[in-house]
């Protein structure tokens, strides 16, 4: 910016004034610098806290008494429903037909009795109705997302998929080809390979060690009858859990529940799964593959989601490696030493194989160093626990970020399913923040001592070593 010329007297005055102002500003700045206090900024904020109550209702359908949890949200005219059939996931597939649960999840949406998959896909796209299914190790799940305008048709289609899918041979054969391509392609991922190796080592011959989408041979073995049998015998009310969110009333959803799920059988002939026995051997397995950066995964034991020590451990894990940039591992391995881009730990909440898991990726030159620091941090936390300050910060995050769970209706409906699956109770969301608040330092450190075993960790390293 240009300034007009001024005579020296004015200039001098201006200089003096600006000098004084400059010093004053300097002091102000200096004070400000010393006194940066986040709490003060929040206290002086224009946006004030608003109370928010996430209300969950349990809805029971009038005719068939199907239960669902519902969180209404009328912000937008859209509806999301998630549901899960427990105990029929890929680990329950027959040994010669591994991949069945996932294959069913893929073909069940290919058309209905009176519409081919082409016709139905087109209709759903035009109406912005999306329905998808998925299988994990233990369960078979589905989800529906629709606009309010098309809800009636959306629920009607969902009901047809579950009760009476079309199952054209042509569609089945195509999806099988897609699975076979996928089975080969997944081996291109170092994370897949590391995870697979880890599961093999941990679970041995137990079905938990298998790849969910099966092997080429087992996919070829699956017939239309197998798929039809799965649908009619395994999709039953006994193990059904449902969560709904969005712009729909309890009355409306309960009548849809009857129509979609009502006529399913109640019980399946149970196929039980032996409980996985897994011992963690303290060792490192190297898998030589041509990846220029090693991917490392590790696993130890943990506790079930409903165990009394779960939350204390959850906090411990947040501090060790779960809390992104606030975690000790990111701080030490990444920020202080520049050895990795990603490193994290998490608690696996699989019901029968609860685990403490972690991963990092690092080039060969950095590997020993990265592993040693990681182990050192795990040993340190196992031995000395966490500090009061760390506990405070972890609680502040867990409580302060709670409302972010409600940012999308599909997040909400899937959370409602998870809450029921882990038997957390319908009032869980109301109690949860107090529960976190009340956790004591001793409880966390006690839980760490009991459950985090730094000398019972299995490492798998995939890379060019």
């Amino acid at each position: 910016m240009r300034r007009r010329k001024s005579n020296s007297y004015v200039l001098k005055n201006i200089l003096t004034i600006s000098l004084i102002l400059g010093i004053a500003f300097g002091i102000y700045n200096f004070k400000n610098m010393l006194s940066f206090n986040p709490q003060e900024i929040v206290d002086g904020a224009i946006l004030k806290k608003k109370n928010f109550k996430a209300e969950i209702k349990e809805v029971t359908s009038p005719k068939y008494k199907i239960k669902s949890w519902l969180m209404e949200d009328k912000t937008n005219p859209i509806i999301s429903i998630n549901f899960m059939f427990d105990n029929i996931g890929s680990a329950y597939d027959n040994n010669t037909k591994v991949g069945l649960a996932n294959l069913v999840a893929a073909v069940i949406t290919e058309g209905t009795k009176n519409k081919t998959s082409d016709e139905l896909d087109l209709e759903m796209e035009r109406k912005a109705i999306s329905i998808s299914f998925d299988a994990d190790k233990t369960s078979f799940s589905g989800s529906l997302l629709t606009t309010k305008k098309n809800k009636k048709r959306a629920f009607e289609i969902l009901g047809k998929f579950i009760k009476d899918p079309r199952l054209d041979i042509d569609d089945i054969e195509r999806v099988k080809l897609q699975f076979i391509a996928g089975i080969k392609k997944q081996e291109e991922s170092p994370y897949f390979l590391a995870n697979q190796k880890l599961n093999k080592e941990l679970f041995g011959e137990h079905p938990y060690s298998r790849v969910g989408i099966g092997k080429i041979e087992s996919i070829k073995n699956i017939s239309k009858a197998d798929i039809a049998n799965f649908v009619s015998k395994k999709l039953v009310k006994e193990n059904l859990i449902i969560g709904v969110s969005g712009d729909i009333t309890p009355e409306e959803i309960s009548s849809y529940l009857d129509r979609v799920f009502g006529e399913l059988k109640f019980k399946q002939r149970h196929k039980t799964l032996p409980k996985p026995k897994f011992e963690i051997e303290n060792k490192q397995i190297n898998m030589k593959k041509n990846f220029p950066q090693n991917v490392v995964m590790f696993a130890g034991k943990s506790v079930k989601r409903t165990h009394k020590d779960f939350y204390p451990l959850y906090i411990a894990n947040y501090i060790l490696g779960g809390g992104s940039f606030s975690s000790r591992l990111v701080n030490k391995v990444r920020e202080k030493n520049g050895l990795v881009y990603s490193i994290a730990t998490y608690l696996g909440i699989e019901k029968y194989a609860p685990m403490f898991n972690g991963y990092f990726a690092t080039t060969e030159d950095n590997f020993e160093n990265a592993k040693n620091i990681t182990l050192k941090e795990i040993k340190k936390i196992a031995k000395n626990g966490i500090t009061k300050k760390e506990l405070q910060n972890a609680k502040a995050f867990l409580i302060g970020s709670f409302n972010l769970r409600f940012s999308s209706i599909s997040d909400i409906s899937s959370m409602l399913v998870a809450m029921q699956y882990h038997e957390l109770g319908i009032d869980f969301l109301e109690k949860r923040n107090d529960m976190v608040k009340n956790i004591k330092l001793d409880e966390v450190n006690e839980a760490i001592k009991t459950h985090i075993k730094s000398d019972e960790l299995l490492f798998v390293k995939v890379g060019n070593n």
Binding site: A128, Q293, G323, A361, G400, S401
Partner: protein, 438 residues
Amino acid sequence: MKKLFLMVFLCTIFVTNISEAKIFNATEFYLKNGLQVVIIPNHKAPIATSMLCYKVGAIDEESGKYGLAHLLEHLMFKGTNKIKDAEFSKIIAKFGGVDNAMTSYDYTCYHQSMSRENLELALYMEADRMDNLNIPDDAFEKEKLVVIEERFSRIKNNPQAILEEKKQSLLWGNSPYAHPISGRIEDIKNITKKDIMDFYNRHYRINNSVLVIAGDLEVEEGKKIANKYFGFKENNKVEKRRFEKSEKGNKVRAKIEMEHKLIQKNSWRRTYIAEKNSYALDIFSNLLAGSSTSKLYKKLVKQDKLASEVYSYYNGVSLDGARFVIGFTPNNDEDTEAIINIIDEEITNITNNLTRKEIEQEKEKMISGLVFLRDNPESEAQNVARLIVSGMSLEQIESWEEDIKKVNMGDVKKVANELINNASFVSGLLMPEKGKDK
């Protein structure tokens, strides 16, 4: 009481009328210093997301310093005169927030999602690091190593990404879109703190940025907080960007074939340089292979069962790097060449035989789900901010539905023919190493 009721009623009508035409129902304004602000009220929960984007990215880097914009993005978390020791994300977390950042060719964005009452802390800190970045030497050196490990994770461990970089370099020639965002390892090693600070001082300016806030706040509140935390800053001269000076290269039509030990199956992908912001190309890509009801998917996956997947997409919102992509994975690697031939034939066939009905159908599909864009405030902020710094105006974003409706068959035919006959492209075929046991 009655009066209040009436006002609320009027407001409701007003709001409803607008939202019929607009996608996000966002409000835009400028501060005196030139900061562009967009507020997107979404009251589903007492949370909000702030997204601050600078109009600078990998296209603004100079040769020999590739990767600088991305490295700077990392270093923005390393401290200011006020906030020392990489505390930025830790402070955000203590107040229940989650934060991150992203670098693209056209822009660099920083975002935080927080409870409503804590959002201003994020704004305060964002405004602070706009001017007061202060990177400790040790953190600078260590972060370069982190960025190199990131490049290994994203590119070097992924043969598909390696091939994409080769394609890109050939396709874009002298354009600033030719080099990878994550840079070159030698370049990253050579970047000095002075390079970083020069770049920062040149580009991280109030009137070179856009602030988008979505969530539980009113427009008036948005105006107040934007002014409170950013209003005092002075605007600066912003220089012309590199892409504005770059020349278009010669037409390229080429293919690259690459074998790789880690690859188990063939995959093929062709990238075209395309016209930017073309709704007609959006429609064409959806019609071609945008979903399971598209022409190529029906032919190659469903009818002939030659491919396990075929897809196309159009990344049209870009300052100067719009691209159109078609790709597939064969069921049997031996069929690869045959499938490429079918695709080339079919694209021409489809273009020559377009019908009005097909076009209308695609438009309907694209429009029917727009309401889902209003669901999540975090994605609202991200979507709107990224579109704006890639060159779209808020008006264009909001009138997307009407503008899509205006596209006719002639428009689609024209852009499709241009793509088929004139656009530059490079095809990439990735294959397992020959003679390898499978």
